[in-house]
Each structure stands twice: as structure tokens, then as C-alpha cells.
């Protein structure tokens, strides 16, 4: 015998897949991550395989996205290039989330001096144009994965911290938190078990939006020549290389940029959909 069917609220996952935006975004993201992960198997050629006889060939059956100034297959390089962008994107986002969540929840939960100091520090970081600071650090300390990810995290933790803080501010006066406090739970337990767990949906949404943002920053850096060193392809440095052939070979600059756009759009769509799915009351009120 089966249990009587009860009028069930669709699960968050159910709402997520039914949301067309997040579905499209999710698919785009999965394709890009798979491309990066499976690059050795997927890419028709190596990223540095040159063929000077086939320079600047337009898209064709042999080279779906054409070839670049060294006769390298653009499709292969776009696939390989996703690795650099996604790697830095994920590492920087993880760092930024950890710092932003820790700092924001402490500020929101304890309030008072801790809150003032942390939020003023966030203000300082928000008033330096991010790209300027990143540019300085990466140019002076070198464009390694660790440096780049670290400095991107340095300029992106502040908005995350603010969001988490305001969430914790509203959570800390809820009954279940007061109950935990009355039962003598430690600050650490309340923060971890009650505040952060409840703030998790917001953090996940931030993660998705932040991934798009960090990938944009990384591509901007490699456009300025502060990313992966050639011949290692990154979407940003491929666009720079393509810039000089714009008049004769539009495809060299166009496709890597399109890859950035699709990936970032994917993460943004997914994040938006996630926000709607995790909290229907927020729908249409995104800022």
C-alpha cells in the first residue's frame, strides 16, 4: 500500500529544473566545465600545434572555428582555454566565499565594534576600483594562479560579506536562535549550526554569480597581458591575439570572447534561477 499522496510543495531541485533560466544556465555551465575537464580528449588538436601553411583559415569542416595567426585550431584553443579561466574562477570564488562568509557572519552576529570595523574595512576595499588593485598586485607580484586568485578574492569578499552580514542580522533575532541561546549553545555552534546553515542558500547564489564575475576579471587581466603565458591559451589572451587580425580574420577574436560571454551568462542565469528556487519570495526582487 502506498502512502496517500499529499499536496506536496515542489522540491527546490524540482523548482530549479522547471525554471527555464537556471536550466539553460546550468547546461551552459556544465558544457564549459566538461570542455575544460575533458580538453585532452575533446580538443581536435593540441593547443600549440602550429601549421603555418594553414594560417588564418576561416571556419570550415576541418577547423570548425577557423585557425589563428600561427595556424592553430581556434576550437581546440577555446576548449583548452576554458581550463585557465575556470581554474582561477573556482579558486578565487572559493577563497572569496570563505572570507566573505566568515567575516560577514561574525559582523552580523556579534554586531557592535566587530561589525563597525569589518564593514568599514569592506568600505575601503569597495572604494578602490577593483581592477586597479588587481592590476597592481598581479603586475608586481607575478601572474601565477595563486596570486591572481588571491587578489581577485581580496576585491570580491566585501560584497559577499555584506550580503551574509545582512542575512545573519535578520536571522539572529529569530526565535530558534533565541532558543539556542537560552539552551546555552556556544557562539560557534549558533553561528555554524543556525546562522550559516540558514544563510547557505544565499551563499550558494552568491557563489554562482561570483563565478561569473571572477571569470570576467580573469579574462580582463589576460587581455591586459597579465594572465596565462602564451602559448598556453586563455580566452583573454586569445582575444588580444585576434585583435590584430580583426580586419582579415574576424573569427580569431570573436570565438574566445563568445566563450567567455556564454560561460559568464551561464553562471549568472544559473545564479538567478537558484535564487528564485531557493526562496520564491525573492522572485523579481533581485537587486
Amino acid at each position: 500500500m502506498t502512502a496517500p499522496a499529499r499536496p506536496e510543495r515542489p522540491s527546490a531541485l524540482g523548482r530549479l529544473t522547471r525554471n527555464r533560466r537556471s536550466l539553460i544556465g546550468g547546461v551552459a555551465v556544465v558544457i564549459m566545465i566538461a570542455a575544460g575537464g575533458l580538453a585532452p580528449a575533446l580538443a581536435p588538436q593540441g593547443y600549440s600545434a602550429q601549421s603555418l601553411l594553414h594560417r588564418l583559415q576561416p571556419p570550415s569542416a576541418a577547423h570548425w572555428l577557423g585557425t589563428d595567426g600561427f595556424g592553430r585550431d581556434v576550437l581546440s584553443r577555446v576548449i583548452w582555454g576554458s581550463r585557465v579561466s575556470l581554474e582561477i574562477g573556482f579558486v578565487a570564488t572559493a577563497l572569496s566565499l570563505v572570507v566573505g562568509t566568515a567575516v560577514g557572519s561574525i559582523a552580523g552576529y556579534f554586531g557592535g565594534t566587530a561589525d563597525t570595523v569589518i564593514m568599514r574595512a569592506a568600505d575601503v576595499f569597495l572604494s578602490i576600483p577593483a581592477l586597479f588593485l588587481i592590476l597592481i598586485v598581479v603586475a608586481l607580484f607575478g601572474a601565477s594562479l595563486a596570486n591572481t586568485a588571491l587578489v581577485i578574492a581580496l576585491v570580491t569578499w566585501a560584497p559577499v560579506g555584506r550580503v551574509v552580514r545582512s542575512e545573519c542580522l535578520s536571522l539572529r533575532n529569530r526565535d530558534f536562535v533565541h532558543a539556542a541561546q537560552a539552551l546555552g549553545a556556544s557562539h560557534a555552534r549558533i553561528l555554524g549550526r543556525h546562522l550559516l546553515l540558514n544563510a547557505l542558500p544565499i551563499v550558494i547564489v552568491q557563489a554562482s554569480l561570483l563565478l561569473g564575475q571572477t571569470i570576467l576579471i580573469e579574462s580582463g587581466l589576460s587581455y591586459l597581458g597579465l594572465g596565462a603565458r602564451p602559448p598556453l591559451p586563455s580566452w583573454g589572451n586569445m582575444v588580444v591575439e585576434g585583435r590584430q587580425f580583426l580586419a582579415s580574420a574576424w573569427w580569431v577574436a570573436t570565438f574566445p570572447g563568445l566563450a567567455i560571454f556564454v560561460t559568464v551568462l551561464g553562471f549568472n542565469l544559473f545564479g538567478d534561477g537558484l535564487r528564485d528556487a531557493s526562496d520564491p519570495t525573492l522572485r523579481g526582487r533581485s537587486s
Binding site: 578602490i128 581592477l131 580582463g220 559568464v264
Partner: protein, 320 residues
């Protein structure tokens, strides 16, 4: 000015000065902690340890970090930002020289973004769920997803390479610097690039802010007393909805100036952004400090003014 507001203004001014101090200390420390120095760039090629030491001494880089900072800050307070390591020109003059094009570019982009984003945001909110709403969210999603440098290059491809209607780069043609129509033609693509990117957040914010305002009691009251839909939206809801939009415009300045770095690079636009990029690659410390400090000062001042405007526009906001 009432006393409460005066205390608030004084407090905020104090914070602004502290923030500027914080920014300058952070930047100074980061730069001096970096491995290597300007001597490698200044000499170029092989050089002896003595030559490097000599240069560091001449530039004052051999002194303790704190002393260097105090020396720099003392001079900066008197309005002296030092001289470029590379050219020997006063930093203030270099910045002033490049300020005009950047102000023109960012101001143009800001106006363009507002002119498109606010009406579109209003339409999206009022005609919620219609094609206008969809168009609005498409604009805002695309806007935050475009890499600005690539958008710029695509615009060059379309308007300069395919249709040959607009110049691909530069501020004006050589020898025709005073030719206004030529300058306007050069400004179109960079302004469009920066403006399109900026539109997204303004449009999103106008929409959500207006939706919020339309839910308020005073809107219901206005409707109940029989005012027409348009009048309610424009007279009652929008005026209140635009208050938070003012803040967003203020807060968007760092993004706008940051975006100018890439846009100026793509279009060879002789502004602050390219000055900063060049200085960073050449380790021209005084220029880096000067540019960043000035940009931070502009941003902090703008935020301050925004907060003050906020208090003046909306009497419900209490200043603490």
C-alpha cells in the same frame, strides 16, 4: 543645517579621510613589498648591483618603508604627488593631462546608461511579465555577462571593419584635434562599450525599486482616489523609487572607472586607465600611487555626496 545632520556630515567626512588614509597605506605597502623594483625597468638589460643600489638611493627607495610613506604622505598633503620615475614629469601634471578624456568617457557612459536604463526599468516594472520585462532582463543579464574588452572589439568589427562608419581607436585624428565632429565620432564606440556594461545594474535596480514602491500604501491611496495609472507611476511611485537608484549610481563609480581601464586599452583612449596600466608595467611607483589615490578620492567623495543627497531627498532616513 540642523544639528543632527551637521554631526552626521562631520562624522562622514572624518570617515572619508580615514578611508583615503587606509587606501594609501594599503597601496603603498603592497607596492613596496613586491619583489623587484623600478631599477630593472629604468636601466633595462643587464645591470650591476652597484648601479641598482645607486638608482634606489636616488629614488629614495633605500630608506625604511615607514619613512618613505611619511615622506610621500607629507608631500601629498601639500599637493605634491612627486615625479614620475620614468619621465621625471610631475605626477599631478601627468594625471591632469589624462583626466579630461577619462571624465568625458565615464560621464558619457553614465549618461547613456541612465538614459536607457531608467525608462526601460520603469517599463519592465509597470508592464511586468510582458515583452518589455523580458527585454529588460535580457539587457541586464547580457550587460553583466559581456567582457567589456570583447564587446568593444565586436563593436569595432561591426562599425569600423564591416560598415566603415566609425573610427576604431584614438581620441581624434592627427592634426585635427580641435575638430569637434571628428572627436564625437571617435567617442561613440568607447562610450557605447562602457555604457552598455553599466546599463545592466541601473536597469535591474530601477525595476526592483519601482516594483517595491508600487506596493506601498501611498500608491494604493493615490489609485483609490482615482488618479490615472500614468500619473500614479510618474508622480508618486517613480520619485520615491529613484532614491535608491541614486545610491547605485554612486556605488557604480568604482566599476565604471575600473571598466575604463579596459575600454581605454581597447580603444587607445588617452585617459587615466591607460596611464595606470603603463605605470604598473614600468613600476613607476609615484604615478601608480597618484592615479590610484586620485581615483579613490573621487570615488569616496562621490559616495559621500550620494549618502548626503540621500538624506536630503528622503526625510525618513535618519542619520546616525
Amino acid at each position: 543645517m540642523e544639528p543632527g545632520l551637521r554631526t552626521y556630515v562631520v562624522k562622514r567626512l572624518g570617515f572619508a579621510v580615514l578611508m583615503l588614509l587606509g587606501v594609501s597605506i594599503i597601496l603603498f605597502t603592497i607596492m613596496r613589498l613586491a619583489p623587484g623594483g623600478p631599477e630593472a625597468v629604468l636601466i633595462g638589460g643587464e645591470f650591476s648591483q652597484e648601479a641598482a643600489a645607486q638608482i634606489r638611493q636616488r629614488l629614495g627607495l633605500d630608506r625604511p618603508l615607514a619613512l618613505q610613506y611619511l615622506g610621500w604622505a607629507g608631500a601629498a598633503l601639500r599637493g605634491d604627488l612627486g615625479r614620475s620615475f620614468k619621465t621625471g614629469d610631475p605626477v599631478a601634471a601627468l594625471i591632469l593631462d589624462r583626466l579630461g578624456p577619462t571624465v568625458q568617457l565615464t560621464a558619457g557612459a553614465l549618461v547613456l546608461a541612465l538614459v536607457v536604463a531608467v525608462p526601460l526599468g520603469v517599463l519592465a516594472a509597470v508592464r511586468r511579465g510582458t515583452i518589455w520585462d523580458t527585454l529588460g532582463s535580457a539587457v541586464s543579464l547580457f550587460g553583466v555577462s559581456f567582457p567589456s574588452f570583447w564587446l568593444g572589439i565586436m563593436l569595432i568589427l561591426l562599425f569600423s571593419e564591416v560598415f566603415h562608419v566609425l573610427p576604431p581607436s584614438g581620441l581624434s585624428e592627427y592634426g585635427r584635434e580641435s575638430d569637434l565632429p571628428a572627436r564625437v565620432r571617435h567617442a561613440i564606440l568607447p562610450t557605447l562599450t562602457l555604457g552598455l556594461i553599466q546599463m545592466a545594474s541601473f536597469m535591474r535596480f530601477t525595476r526592483s525599486s519601482l516594483l517595491e514602491a508600487l506596493r506601498q500604501d501611498y500608491v494604493r491611496t493615490a489609485r483609490a482616489k482615482g488618479l490615472g495609472g500614468g500619473r500614479v507611476v510618474w508622480r508618486h511611485a517613480l520619485r520615491n523609487a529613484l532614491i535608491p537608484v541614486v545610491t547605485v549610481v554612486g556605488l557604480s563609480l568604482p566599476t565604471l572607472v575600473g571598466g575604463a581601464v579596459l575600454t581605454e586599452t581597447v580603444f587607445a583612449w588617452p585617459g587615466i586607465g591607460r596611464l595606470a596600466v603603463g605605470a604598473v608595467f614600468e613600476r613607476d611607483y609615484p604615478v601608480i600611487m597618484g592615479v590610484n589615490l586620485m581615483v579613490a578620492a573621487i570615488v569616496i567623495t562621490a559616495n559621500l555626496l550620494t549618502d548626503l543627497a540621500y538624506c536630503v531627498i528622503d526625510p525618513r532616513i535618519s542619520y546616525r
